[in-house]
């Protein structure tokens, strides 16, 4: 991969992840759906409950509603030709289901397709409530 190819791929991946962030912030799954591969999977624990399937995620996002204060950071972006891994940390989750000020760690795996980089899996860990804004 040449330098300019690397930047193109990186920016393509960041764009896809941004769709997820936009959908999360506005509480609209329609904004993030194009970021996901049709066969994408979704896994993680929400409390004691094992959540699975992208439909669960999309429903959750819509029911949760806006989370205007989320602060996302891309912790790592690893690109291996046609596949990639992104670790995203999102602090300041809020909403009908999220509660307030919670933090989520996400691991996205992506596949490069003819229509751009698509999320093929999202695995998440929902951190137990922490007082992120303690004075």
């Amino acid at each position: 991969m040449t330098k300019s190819e690397y930047l193109t791929e990186y920016d393509g991946i960041a764009k896809t992840i941004q769709m997820y962030i936009d959908g999360s912030r506005q509480g609209k799954s329609a904004l993030m759906r194009p970021a996901f591969h049709p066969d994408a999977s979704f896994f993680g624990y929400a409390g004691e409950q094992l959540a699975a399937g992208t439909q669960f995620l999309f429903d959750w996002i819509d029911k949760n509603g806006p989370a205007p204060d989320i602060e996302p950071r891309m912790i790592s972006v690893d690109i291996l030709d046609s596949i990639a891994v992104v670790r995203l940390e999102v602090a300041g989750w809020s909403g009908n289901l999220a509660g307030s000020g919670v933090r989520m760690s996400d691991l996205f795996t992506l596949l490069k397709t003819p229509s751009g980089w698509k999320i093929i899996q999202k695995a998440f860990h929902w951190h137990a409530a922490e007082r992120s804004r303690a004075a």
Partner: protein
Amino acid sequence: MAERNTPRKTLESWKQIAAYLDRSERTVRRWEASEGLPVHRREHEKQDTVFAYSHEIEAWSRSRTKCPGITASDLAETVSTAKPPANGYLLEHDAITRTMHCYIAGARAGDSELMRPAFQPTATISGYCQGVEYSGSVQHVFHWIDQNGPAPNISPRFARIEIIETIAVVHLEVQHWSGKLAGADTRASDVFTLLKCDGEWKITHKLFHWHAS
């Protein structure tokens, strides 16, 4: 230091290692993969050969721990004097590498039965194989592994193991793939996502990239 003067007995093949432990070759291969049976390899141009030291095998037997995928008959002979690492993080790390070694054992032997315990039943895969996208059930992998047959020379390396409480990502680089489907001496990059499910780490997704040879 009497031990140091004891000549070290070397077992020079899977057959000899299996005979020493009075088990089948298949069982001892699985033990290497999933339970850390100390087996060494000599690299040769064509095919690596294995060997083991009897004193290491003895030490392993004494400290043997149980692992996912172990069968009831295996459990019966388990000596449970396991000494797990004191550190919680290392405990998780080791559990993850044990799961990954089930995958590696299956890949090396060309036997999907060895790797099935490593996967969640609903696990999925994706990636390209000769330009064709494969996305779907992990059954694709099991089928492929069985069709491919043994790949005795694979050299797997953990490029990354990242743990976030209940989830983990493992980047495995595997060189020297061979077999009926893999061709000769190819390289694969695999990214596995794992979930800690009922106290056991299981692979939920395998993402792969075959490098052009």
